[in-house]
C-alpha cells in the first residue's frame, strides 16, 4: 500500500473517523483505535506472517523494563535490610550486574532478530554459503529496523530510569507499532510519543490544513522527484563498465542525491502529516540537509532521529567508556585538542560503521558509513588547523559567501559519499570515483546515456523533476530563512491556493504517468 493511494486514503479516513468517534464517547480508550489501526495497517501494508517478530520485540521490551523495576524494588529492600554500608554496596553492585544482564539479554534478543532477518542471508551469501542474498526466503518484517531501534531506545531509557515503564502491554505495543512510523521512521522516543498516543485528542485541535499541505508536499517530493529519477539512476548504474565517463557518473550521483532526499524526506513528510491528523506529532527527521555547512551538520539534519539515537545510545556511552577515556588521556600528551577529540573521533567511526551496517550488510554500505565517519573525524581533528588557516587568510567565517562556500563544499563531500551508497559494488564505486576525476569525458555523455537506454525523451521529461526540485528548493530556502511557508500559503486566497494545489497534483499525475510509460517508449501510446 503506497501512502499516496486510495487504499491508504480510505484507511486513514476510516481510522480517523473511528478515533474521533470513540474519542468523543470514551476519550481514555481512543488509543485502542490507534492500536487496531496500526495492526491493521501492518497486515495490509506488510506481511501479516511477520507480525510475530514485531509482537516478540514489543513483548521483550515491555517485560524487561518491568523486570528491571522489580529488581530495583528488590535492590532497595535488600539494601534497607543490609546491616552495614559494605553490605548495602555489595547488594547494589550485585543488583546492578543483574540489571545489566537483563538489559544486555533483551537487547541481544531484539537486535538478534533484526540481524537474523536482515543480515544473516546476506552474510552467508558474502562468504559463499548462500546462493543469493535472499535465497533463504526470510520475510523481512515491515519497518523492522525502525521498530527495533525505537523499542531498544525505550528499553535503554527505562533502564536509565528516564520514565516509569508502561505496565499495559497493549499500550506499549502501540508505541512500537504506531502505523505512520512503521514504514520508514522516524525513530521516536517514548517520552515524546508515548503520552501523545495515549492521551486522546479532540478533532478541533488537529491542524488539518497544515497536515494536508505537508502530505501534498511530501507526495510531490516522493513522486515528482524520487520516482521520476529512480529509473534513470538505475539505468546509469546497472552496468558499470571500466570506460564509464565521469560526466555520466557525476550526473547519476547528482540525480541520486535528489532522489534520496525526495524519497526519504517526502515519505517522512507524508507519515508526519498522517500522524498529525490524529493529533500526534512525531519527531522531525529532516531539516533541509543540503543547506548543511559541514558533514557533521548534515547528519544533524538528515535522518535526525537515527543520528540522535546513535548519539545517545552508541556515541556517548562509547566515547566516555573507560578505554576511550584512557585513549584520550594518552593522546592528550600530544596536545590538548587531540586528547579531547580522539575518543570522539573513534566513537564517530564506530557510529558510522553501524549506520552503514544499518543500511545493509553489503561492503559498499560499510564503506559509505566509514567514509562519513572518517571525514567527520578528520574534520574534528583538523579543526584548529582550519581555524588558523581561516584566520591567516582573513576569512570572515560569519559572511554569507563563506557560508555558501561551506554549503557547496558539504554538498560535494556528501555526494562523494553517495558513490559508496548507491553503486552496488565497492570496486565499482572506486572505479566511478576515479573516472569522475580522471575520465570526465563530457563528449561521450549523451552517447553513453543512449547506450544505457536513456533516450532524449527521458532526458526531456526530467524537466518535470527539475521543476519539482525548484519548488522544493524555494520552499527550503524560505524555511532556512525562518519563513513559515505553510502558514503563508494557507493565508492566500482560495483561487491562489486552488491553483497551487492543482499545479502540485498535476506534477504528481504527470510524473506518475511518465514513470510508468516513458521508459517503455510509450509516451504517446494512444490507448
Amino acid at each position: 500500500m503506497e501512502l499516496f493511494s486510495l487504499h491508504f486514503l480510505l484507511f486513514l479516513v476510516t481510522a480517523l473517523a473511528a478515533y474521533h468517534v470513540v474519542g468523543h464517547i470514551a476519550r481514555k480508550n481512543a488509543w485502542l483505535v490507534l492500536l487496531a489501526a496500526s495492526l491493521a495497517f501492518y497486515c495490509l501494508a506488510g506481511r501479516w506472517q511477520t507480525l510475530a517478530y514485531m509482537l516478540a520485540c514489543a513483548a521483550i521490551t515491555w517485560a524487561a523494563p518491568l523486570g528491571l523495576a522489580r529488581m530495583d524494588a528488590a535492590c532497595r529492600a535488600e539494601r534497607a535490610a543490609a546491616p552495614d554500608r559494605a553490605a548495602r554496596r555489595a547488594a547494589k553492585a550485585a543488583w546492578a550486574r543483574r540489571r545489566r544482564a537483563v538489559l544486555v539479554a533483551s537487547l541481544a534478543a531484539c537486535f538478534g532478530m533484526l540481524a537474523y532477518l536482515k543480515y544473516w542471508n546476506v552474510l552467508l551469501y558474502e562468504v559463499g554459503l548462500a546462493a543469493s542474498p535472499s535465497s533463504l526466503g526470510l520475510l523481512l518484517p515491515l519497518g523492522v529496523s525502525f521498530y527495533t531501534f525505537q523499542a531498544a531506545s525505550y528499553l535503554v531509557d527505562a533502564y536509565n530510569g528516564r520514565f516509569e515503564p508502561q505496565r499495559n502491554p497493549l499500550k506499549h505495543l502501540l508505541f512500537v507499532c504506531w502505523f505512520p512510523q512503521v514504514i520508514q521512521g522516524p525513530i521516536n522516543r517514548y517520552a515524546d510519543l508515548g503520552p501523545q498516543l495515549l492521551e486522546g485528542h479532540s478533532a478541533k485541535g488537529v491542524p488539518v490544513r497544515r497536515s494536508l499541505l505537508r502530505f501534498g508536499y511530501g507526495a510531490l517530493k516522493k513522486y515528482a522527484i524520487a520516482n521520476m529519477l529512480v529509473g534513470t539512476i538505475d539505468q546509469i548504474f546497472s552496468n558499470v563498465t571500466p570506460g564509464i565517463p565521469g560526466s555520466v557518473v557525476a550526473f547519476g550521483i547528482l540525480l541520486y542525491s535528489a532522489q534520496q532526499y525526495g524519497d526519504f524526506s517526502g515519505g517522512i513528510d507524508m507519515v508526519e502529516a498522517a500522524s498529525s491528523l490524529f493529533g500526534v506529532r512525531m519527531a522531525e527527521n529532516f531539516r533541509r540537509p543540503y543547506f548543511s555547512v559541514s558533514l557533521a551538520d548534515f547528519w544533524r539534519r538528515w535522518h535526525i532521529t537515527l543520528g540522535a539515537w546513535m548519539r545517545d545510545y552508541v556515541f556517548f556511552p562509547f566515547a566516555v567508556s573507560r578505554p576511550m577515556r584512557a585513549l584520550g588521556a594518552r593522546a592528550s600528551r600530544l596536545g590538548e585538542h587531540l586528547g579531547r577529540t580522539l575518543p570522539a573521533c573513534v566513537a564517530n567511526l564506530l557510529v558510522f560503521l553501524i549506520v552503514g551496517l544499518w543500511h545493509g550488510a553489503e561492503p559498499h554500505y560499510v564503506a559509505w558509513g566509514l567514509y562519513n565517519g572518517l571525514v567527520i573525524a578528520l574534520a574534528d581533528l583538523l579543526a584548529p588547523a582550519f581555524s588558523r588557516a581561516n584566520a591567516a587568510l582573513r576569512v570572515d567565517e560569519s559572511s554569507r559567501a563563506h557560508r555558501a562556500l561551506c554549503v557547496a563544499r558539504t554538498f560535494l563531500v556528501v555526494n562523494v559519499g553517495w558513490y559508496f551508497d548507491r553503486i552496488y559494488g565497492f570496486g565499482d564505486s572506486l572505479l566511478c570515483l576515479r573516472n569522475t576525476f580522471t575520465n570526465f569525458n563530457p563528449g561521450a555523455f549523451f552517447l553513453t546515456l543512449h547506450e544505457d537506454g536513456i533516450t532524449a525523451l527521458n532526458l526531456q521529461f526530467l524537466v518535470f523533476a527539475a521543476l519539482a526540485c525548484l519548488l522544493v528548493f524555494a520552499v527550503s530556502l524560505a524555511q532556512e530563512r525562518g519563513v513559515d511557508v505553510g502558514g503563508r500559503i494557507l493565508g492566500w486566497n482560495c483561487v491562489a491556493r486552488a491553483a497551487l494545489y492543482f499545479l502540485v497534483l498535476s506534477l504528481i499525475v504527470i510524473t506518475s504517468f511518465l514513470t510508468q510509460n516513458v521508459a517503455g517508449g510509450f509516451m504517446y501510446a494512444n490507448f
Binding site: 486510495l6 570506460g243 483561487v495 491556493r497 486552488a498 494545489y501 501510446a525 490507448f527
Partner: protein, 469 residues
C-alpha cells in the same frame, strides 16, 4: 477587561461562522480543481484514442448481430480483419481489441459482448507480454473512460470506482492520479494537437474520424478493426525486441488467473473460446529462448484445462500459415496485408474447429521446441551491442535464426560522411574489438552484416549502431 469565560463565549460564538467560512473555502477550492480538471480533460485527454474508437463503434453496432468478438491487446486489434473472417466463415465478427488491453479489460469486453449480443465465439488474442509483468494503467484508464462514455452516470461512476479499487490500482498512486485522466492518455503536447482534440470533442466529430486524421497512415476498415500499411525495417530489430536486457520475465500468476476467469466466463455462457498467440517476426520469438516454450506451455495448459482452444501462430507449421517478411509492421504487429493473410489462415483453423476437428497439428508443440528451431531456415534479424572495454570498443552481434543455420558476420565502420571501411571481414566470429586509436574522431557508426555461411550474397540482414571516437 474580559474574563476568560467571556473570551470562551466569544470564541464559541465565532466558531460556527469560522467553520462555515472554512467549509466554503474548501468547497471553492474543490470546485476550482474539478473545473480545471474538466477543462484540461477536454483539451488533453485523447479523444481519438483507439479504445474510444472501439467502444463508439461497438455502441453504433448495438442493433446489429454480432456472433464473434476478438478481444485482447493491439496485437489482436491488428491481426484480425473481421471482414476476411466473416467472408470465409459467414460469421459476424467485431474486433474489440484495443492497444495494451489488459486481461481484466478483455474479460470486461467479452462479458459485455456476451450480455449484449449473446456471442457464440470469443477470440482472445495474446502475446508473451500479455501474461508477463507489464502493466499499463494508461490503457486501463482509456478503456474505462471510453466505456463510460455511453453509460448512465451511476453506471459510469460505478465502473470508474471499480477501476480505482481494482487490484492493480487500489494500492498505488494510480488510484488517485486516475481521477485526472488527461495524464494517462493524452494528445501530443503541442498547441495544434491540443486544439484539434478540443475541437473534435466539442464539435461532435466521431472518434473514428478523429483517429483517422490524427494517426498518420492508420486506416479504419470497420467492425472495430483498423491498421497500418507500413513494413518492418529489419535493420532496426534491436529497437523492436520485446525482451528487455534483463531477459524475459516469467508469466504473472495474476495474468494466468485472468485467463482462467475468461475461460470460466465463456464456459458458463456456452461460448466457444479460442486463445491465439498472434504472429510476430521470428526474431521476436527466438529472443525469448527456452523461456518461450516454458512459459507458453503454462498458458496453454490453463486454456485447455479451462475448456478453450489454444493456437500459437508463431509455432505454425508450413502449409497452414507462413508469414512473410513484408507481413509485419513492426516487431509485434502485422500490417493490413499481413492481417488479411493471417485472418484467412485463421478462418481455416476456425472452420476445422467448427467441423469438430483439432487444430493441434497446425503448430509445433512446445515439447518439440527443437523442431520449431530447426524449421526456421532464414536469418530473421541481426542486432549488435557496443561496450567500452580497456582495450577498445567491443561490438557484439547476435543473429536470430534457426538451429540448423550457420552464419557469418562482417563488421564495418561508417564514417560521418557515409564512407564504409571494413574492419573485420566475413567470418564466424560474432565479436569485433575496435582499438581506440582506430576509431575516427567524433561520432560514427558500426555496421554489422550477416549472411548464411558459405553463401556469396552481399548480406541477408544488417544493423547499424552509433559509437563514439
Amino acid at each position: 477587561m474580559r474574563t476568560s469565560s467571556e473570551k470562551d463565549n466569544k470564541a464559541r460564538g465565532r466558531a460556527p461562522r469560522h467553520g462555515r467560512r472554512r467549509a466554503l473555502e474548501v468547497f471553492i477550492i474543490v470546485v476550482l480543481i474539478v473545473a480545471a480538471n474538466v477543462i484540461i480533460n477536454l483539451g488533453f485527454e485523447l479523444y481519438s484514442s483507439l479504445a474510444n474508437v472501439m467502444w463508439d463503434e461497438y455502441r453504433s453496432a448495438a442493433s446489429e448481430n454480432i456472433d464473434t468478438v476478438v478481444v485482447g491487446s493491439s496485437t489482436g486489434q491488428r491481426s484480425f480483419d473481421p471482414a476476411v473472417l466473416d467472408a470465409t466463415l459467414g460469421a459476424t465478427t467485431f474486433n474489440m481489441a484495443t492497444p495494451a488491453q489488459e486481461l481484466d479489460d478483455s474479460y470486461t469486453a467479452a462479458r459485455q459482448a456476451i450480455e449484449d449480443h449473446h456471442v457464440r465465439r470469443v477470440i482472445l488474442a495474446v502475446d508473451y507480454e500479455s501474461i508477463s509483468t507489464v502493466k499499463w494503467p494508461g490503457s486501463h484508464v482509456a478503456f474505462a473512460r471510453a466505456k463510460m462514455e455511453g453509460e448512465s452516470l451511476p453506471r459510469a461512476a460505478a465502473d470508474y470506482w471499480k477501476l480505482l479499487t481494482s487490484s492493480s490500482f487500489f494500492d498505488g498512486a494510480d488510484s488517485i492520479c486516475a481521477l485526472f485522466p488527461w495524464g494517462y492518455n493524452h494528445v501530443e503536447l503541442d498547441a495544434e494537437h491540443i486544439a484539434t482534440n478540443f475541437h473534435d470533442r466539442i464539435s461532435g466529430t466521431s472518434p473514428v474520424e478523429a483517429a483517422a486524421r490524427v494517426m498518420d497512415g492508420w486506416t479504419y476498415y470497420g467492425r472495430g478493426y483498423g491498421n497500418y500499411d507500413g513494413v518492418l525495417d529489419y535493420s532496426t530489430a534491436r529497437d523492436r525486441l520485446s525482451v528487455t536486457e534483463e531477459g524475459p520475465a516469467d508469466f504473472d500468476q495474476q495474468g494466468l488467473d485472468w485467463i482462467q476467469n475468461i475461460c470460466d466466463l465463456c464456459r458458463e455462457n456456452g461460448v466457444q473460446l479460442v486463445v491465439v498467440v498472434t504472429p510476430r517476426p521470428a526474431f521476436n520469438v527466438l529472443a525469448y529462448g527456452e523461456k518461450y516454450p516454458e512459459q507458453m506451455s503454462r498458458l496453454q495448459q490453463v486454456v485447455e484445462q479451462g475448456g478453450g482452444t489454444f493456437i500459437d501462430a508463431n509455432m505454425a507449421k508450413g502449409g497452414w500459415w507462413e508469414p512473410r517478411d513484408v507481413d509485419f509492421y513492426d516487431g509485434e504487429h502485422l500490417n493490413h496485408d499481413g492481417a488479411a493473410r493471417f485472418s484467412r489462415a485463421f478462418a481455416q483453423a476456425l472452420q476445422t474447429l467448427d467441423a469438430g476437428g483439432s487444430t493441434a497439428n497446425l503448430t509445433y508443440s512446445y515439447d518439440h521446441w527443437d523442431d520449431y528451431l530447426a524449421s526456421v531456415d532464414s536469418i530473421s534479424a541481426v542486432i549488435s551491442t557496443v561496450s567500452q572495454e580497456d582495450n577498445g570498443t567491443v561490438v557484439m552481434a547476435t543473429a536470430y535464426t534457426g538451429s540448423s543455420v550457420q552464419v557469418e558476420y562482417r563488421f564495418s565502420l561508417v564514417a560521418e560522411d557515409g564512407t564504409t571501411t571494413t574492419i573485420q571481414d566475413w567470418g564466424a566470429s560474432d565479436t569485433c574489438t575496435i582499438p581506440d586509436g582506430q576509431l575516427p574522431e567524433g561520432s560514427s557508426q558500426v555496421e554489422v552484416c550477416v549472411r548464411r555461411a558459405g553463401t556469396t550474397v552481399g548480406y541477408e540482414r544488417y544493423c547499424i549502431q552509433d559509437i563514439s571516437g
